[in-house]
């Protein structure tokens, strides 16, 4: 699913990275806990979260994510958006709950990453 398709599906307002909407994401993860995101999210994924502090962008940078979707109508402070721009991330805000966003994306074919601990097993297989 392209990020543009995600934005259309969620009726989202893109906050930064408008020139990168043609990128594809292969999965999505919903979490307000960054340690859970670090444990379970795959690369090329979109993160749906209600957290708007700099740690979300730093976590996205560590994980090489493509897109952060701020749910429940949240908009991060300007300095957080500037960090996201510098990292080449697309960010958007959606005036819907996380549950509704996840349902809409799932209905349009996007799936969560397989559970388990993928990183090490993938590396040694």
């Amino acid at each position: 699913m392209t990020i543009k398709e995600i934005a259309n599906c969620l009726d989202a307002r893109v906050l930064c990275g408008e020139d990168r909407l043609d990128q594809s994401v292969t999965s999505a993860c919903c979490s307000d806990l960054m340690s859970d995101a670090l444990a379970f999210i795959h690369e090329n994924a979109a993160l749906l979260t209600g957290i708007t502090n700099p740690h979300v962008v730093r976590t996205a940078g560590i994980l090489d994510l493509k897109c952060i979707i701020f749910v429940r109508g949240k908009v991060p402070p300007d300095e957080v958006l500037e960090m996201a721009r510098e990292q080449g991330l697309v960010t958007m805000t959606v005036n819907k709950t996380m549950f509704t966003c996840a349902g809409l994306l799932y209905d349009n074919g996007l799936r969560g990453a397989p559970m388990g601990w993928p990183c090490r097993e993938e590396a040694v297989s």
Partner: protein
């Protein structure tokens, strides 16, 4: 061979992640594969956040040679009372400040262990905690 050491302060949330971002940059410059890079980056971020959230401050180190990448941390206390319990997924003693910023899921130590090829932790209550994790360069 690459060596780097970073001072990490207790509660330094504003600069949290900077050491890990630098480690990731260094490894990218060395041409480390994306899969290994991701495993090290996730582990270093967890290690850095653990020092910030749980310790009185400490240091974090990176050592890279031909075959291995080693991350290490040493803090000034307070030490972990029950290391086995702390290694349980979902167990966390993070305070409200850390939780309000999205940390404290209780996945830090387990996440480091699962990403690494070797994980060692020693902790002495009242003294501090040392962690050494290694990754085979692939």
């Amino acid at each position: 061979m690459v060596h780097a050491e970073y001072d990490i302060q207790k509660g330094a949330y504003n600069s949290a992640g900077e050491a890990s971002a630098d480690i990731k940059r260094k490894l990218q410059q060395l041409g480390i594969s994306p899969v290994t890079l991701r495993r090290v980056a996730v582990s270093s971020y967890e290690m850095e956040m653990n020092i910030i959230i749980h310790s009185l401050g400490g240091t974090m180190g990176l050592c890279v040679d031909k075959d291995w990448i080693t991350l290490s941390s040493k803090d000034q206390g307070p030490g972990i009372e029950d290391v086995e319990l702390a290694m349980s997924e979902g167990y966390s003693t993070a305070d409200d400040d850390a939780r309000s910023m999205g940390f404290g899921a209780g996945m830090g130590l387990p996440n480091m262990k699962r990403n690494a090829d070797d994980f060692r932790i020693t902790s002495q209550l009242g003294e501090g905690t040392q962690i050494t994790i290694t990754f085979k360069v692939m």
